[in-house]
């Protein structure tokens, strides 16, 4: 992020490059925004610390509520839950200070948990509880302008939606949920410019919701039916078809970026399709590969690293669950490995040839 005194140069640079102008009032508002953001700027270490501190404090507070036996009091839990949620929203809106993020995150997370537990203790069905929490989290997203709270609210929406899909007891619903998450993430990332310019609030919420969507795809892929003997295993093809389709959809923007000549684009399409077809039957791998490519395409380092870890994990799980002999698995792995190494050398030579030209 630029420092406040660099804002004038930055705006002039963007005005010249894109033939737009920023009037004085807008320029002052932007400068004020930069000053406020700069004072609240945090390195990744501080963001991680805020989340860890919030998680630890939330767990300890839940422990306290357990020992004082408040879990049996429906109204006690509901009142405390709603009070904490409202308190965290008011705190984040009134006092825009980074150091209070831990308190706001702790209050909000504890509040949501107690709200949900209060509704459950009152005899409400788990589906309705999830629905209420989703509504509460969506209202929060409308009201707040805080990165951490937005992330927690978005994760709450994802987790409760997954719980709803799970409760419907069908592989179809989980596949549908993951397909929606994959489509949502692709659209959210590809339409970044449209979203951030459509509404000022979306410019604040874009990054935390993007991170929440990445977490959603990576975690919910583990709930897909595994193996061809699982009931309705074919519904797991929906998200993998969608992911492969999304990767092919991204190719027209990626190929020129890496220097593939227009005459070679058809070859590239065929090669990529051939490489992707085997992972049609490995939906988790297809989804995670899409996450990696999407996050790399916008230089989202956090999402990219999460994608790499997810890819290693899901490839391991895939081969572990394959209902084939170890010999066939080993031949498959070695064959895939050699193919990838050959592709590397072909690509390397292609790049070298065209760089010389």
């Amino acid at each position: 992020m630029k420092k406040p005194h660099e804002v004038t140069d930055l705006l002039r640079q963007l005005s010249d490059a894109h033939d737009i102008s920023f009037d004085t009032e807008v320029e002052n508002a932007i400068r004020e925004g930069f000053e406020k953001a700069h004072s609240n700027r945090s390195a990744i270490a501080i963001k991680v610390l805020t989340i860890l501190g919030g998680v630890l404090a939330t767990l300890l507070f839940i422990g306290f509520l357990y020992v004082i036996d408040i879990f049996n009091s429906t109204w006690g839990m509901l009142s405390l839950g709603i009070g904490f949620i409202v308190g965290s929203i008011v705190l984040s809106r009134r006092v825009d200070l980074l150091i209070l993020d831990t308190i706001a995150v702790t209050l909000y997370a504890s509040g949501l948990l107690m709200f949900g537990m209060g509704l459950s203790a009152g005899g409400m069905h788990s589906d309705m509880v999830s629905l209420f929490i989703i509504i509460m989290a969506l209202i929060t997203l409308v009201l707040i302008e805080n990165y951490m709270l937005a992330f927690v609210a978005a994760i709450a929406v994802s987790a409760c939606s997954l719980q709803l899909a799970f409760d419907l007891r069908g592989a179809f619903w989980i596949s549908l949920y993951l397909s929606l998450a994959v489509a949502g993430l692709t659209a959210w990332i590809k339409q970044e410019a449209v979203l951030i310019t459509a509404n000022p609030k979306l410019a604040i919420l874009h990054s935390p919701i993007r991170l929440a969507l990445v977490c959603t795809v990576l975690l919910s892929a583990s709930f897909l039916p595994v193996g061809y003997h699982a009931p309705y295993w074919y519904v797991a093809l929906f998200p993998s078809l969608l992911s492969i389709g999304a990767i092919l959809y991204l190719l027209p923007s990626i190929l020129p970026s890496i220097g593939v000549q227009p005459k070679d684009e058809y070859v590239a399409y065929v090669a990529v399709t051939l490489v992707l077809v085997p992972i049609l039957f490995a939906p988790a791998i297809a989804c995670v590969l899409l996450v990696m490519i999407l996050c790399f395409s916008i230089k989202d380092r956090t999402g990219f690293v999460m994608g790499i870890i997810g890819l290693i994990y899901y490839i391991g799980v895939f081969y572990y669950n394959l209902d084939l002999s170890l010999l066939v698995k080993s031949l498959l792995l070695m064959g895939s490995g050699i193919l990838l190494i050959v592709l590397y050398f072909l690509l390397h030579q292609y790049f070298q040839r065209h760089e010389k030209i």
């Binding site: 945090s42 410019a203 080993s330 792995l333």
Partner: protein
């Protein structure tokens, strides 16, 4: 003139009404990866996954053919692969990164060779023997290659050896002892990395490796201290008590090395050490109080302690971050 980053473009979008096409163009020109980044990603991805898959396939192949292969074939094949890898590394014209990836693959194959050897000759050795031999066998490669992923494999092997030894051989050791030893070993590597960086800047380990190993050391110290305290509280181990030498050694070692970590983080302006070390201290202190608690209200007090301590820590880190920014601007 410096280029805008994603946060700048998002900030401007909040306050200015500029068209989506301009925002898209700004993102593509200044934020999204360029040709060099894409090429590097594709090449590293293809070679990395290619080598990993091939290696895994080899391991699975041996797992399948275990019973039917003659012992000389089993051992000979793996040794042949190791020799082939090293010949390619020494005599080929491949670039340095590729050679280091191959060397890492060879280092993993050494472990496979030792496992096969142990199974063929039914040496009756414990698992820690395998990991210890594996560690010793690859020391020279690790030192010569000075390749960060290979160092990570090496350090992981040392830690695994310690835990397996404690589990399989040293049954009379207190349960927290492997955590203590692992903490000192990992801290030693971090210290060595810092000193090496000072003496030979070109050989300085990459930051990600230092952070991973330091994080490992911090996790071991925290777990060891909490485990030691738990053991003493519930008398799981009659040797343990607050006067137990292992516990005292870990406590004093943690205090000294944590102080050193904080000093290093402050001097070098590295927020990771300034955040991770104090947070570990917060977790350990909270656990100590919780373990000795005999009152329900202690839970609430600890919650407040964690919130206040973390908030103060974040405030301190923000001030340091601001000072770093001012120093860079000056």
């Amino acid at each position: 003139m410096s280029t805008p980053d994603r946060e700048d473009i998002h900030l401007i979008s909040r306050h200015a009404q500029w068209p989506a096409s301009s925002a898209r163009k700004a993102l593509e020109e200044h934020v999204h990866p360029g040709r060099k980044d894409w090429k590097q990603f594709l090449e590293l991805f293809l070679i990395g996954t290619g080598v990993a898959f091939t290696l895994a396939g080899i391991i699975f192949f041996f797992a399948y053919n275990w019973d039917s292969l003659h012992k000389f074939v089993k051992i000979g094949l793996i040794e042949g692969l190791i020799v082939a890898c090293t010949l390619v590394i020494v005599f080929s014209q491949l670039n340095k990164t590729l050679k280091n990836i191959l060397l890492t693959a060879a280092a993993v194959l050494v472990g496979v060779l030792l496992a096969v050897f142990g199974q063929v000759y039914q040496s009756g050795a414990d698992a820690y023997d395998l990991f210890l031999m594996w560690t010793i066998a690859i020391i020279i490669w690790v030192l010569i290659a000075h390749f960060a992923p290979l160092w990570l494999v090496f350090i992981t092997l040392i830690n695994t050896t310690v835990f397996l030894y404690a589990d399989q051989v040293a049954n009379n050791w207190p349960k927290m002892s492997p955590f203590m030893i692992s903490f000192f070993i990992n801290s030693g590597f971090v210290l060595a990395g810092v000193i090496l960086g000072r003496l030979r800047p070109s050989a300085k380990p990459p930051e990600w490796l230092m952070i991973v190993v330091a994080l490992g050391a911090i996790v071991m110290a925290s777990t060891g201290l909490i485990a030691g305290k738990l053991m003493s509280r519930f008398n799981f181990d009659s040797l343990l008590g607050i006067g137990d030498p292992n516990f005292v050694a870990l406590l004093i070692g943690s205090l000294v090395l944590y102080a050193a970590g904080l000093w290093y983080g402050f001097k070098q302006r590295k927020l990771f050490y300034l955040g991770a070390v104090p947070f570990s201290a917060i977790v350990v202190v909270s656990a100590f109080i919780l373990i000795d608690a005999d009152n329900d209200i202690v839970f609430l007090l600890i919650t407040l302690f964690v919130i206040i301590a973390t908030t103060l820590l974040i405030r301190w880190l923000i001030n340091i971050q601001k000072n770093i920014t001012h120093e860079k601007a000056a």
